[in-house]
Symmetry: C2
């Protein structure tokens, strides 16, 4: 299962070659530069397959569009309210928080997602 195809490889390569946390549509347009007749359905299918196999991460960020990431370690994000871009934030992930909340609530907690909001450097200047 999870056969190797040039479509899948191309999609992975695009994801690994960017830090922009792209949407499915952006990936589609990039991959088309390599495989012009690839279909959007194939991109969606492969993104899901790659998520399920754990090779990439679907980011559960705000906004309507799903965004994907080839970085598989848990890390935090920052989203600029002006340009909409998503950046990685390299602050150590605080695992203690999960334990504290688990004790207080009785929920079983596997992980957390943290997203900062504001205005990025570029947009502050302009």
């Amino acid at each position: 299962m999870l056969r190797r195809t040039k479509q899948k490889e191309a999609i992975l390569e695009v994801l690994r070659g960017t830090t922009s946390h792209p949407t499915a549509d952006w990936v589609y347009n990039e991959v088309r530069k390599e495989i012009p007749n690839i279909s959007l359905g194939t991109v969606y299918r492969n993104l899901r397959l790659l998520c399920e196999s754990g090779e990439i991460l679907e980011l559960d960020l705000c906004g309507t569009l799903s965004r994907f990431d080839a970085r598989r370690d848990n890390h935090y994000h920052f989203r600029c309210g002006k340009c909409g871009l998503v950046f990685d934030v390299d602050v150590p992930v605080d695992m203690e928080m999960d334990k504290i909340v688990a004790q207080r609530t009785g929920f079983m907690i596997s992980y957390h997602r943290l997203e900062f909001r504001g205005v990025c450097k570029n947009c502050q200047e302009s």
Copy 2:
């Protein structure tokens, strides 16, 4: 601007009467008990208006559907991976984090969103 209508009042009342962070569709069905011929478009329109005026909060949680909250203070959430329900987590919001990340990144940070994932009490038992 922002006229008071029975539709808008009914929507607000539904939101204030629940802690379930409902989706637009759920709100629609609740409001229909009061105003049977209200249209889904009106619900969406009012949810957006209420968000813009700051009377309610649109939660930027994972998943595809937008969810809304009449609680306007910043607080954290927990989402159960089994039943999909969203709960409030009453842990103090750590404002320091924003400052630390702002210093480290140069971004202007207004706030952050934190969401825990795991399995809720109910689903653990069953």
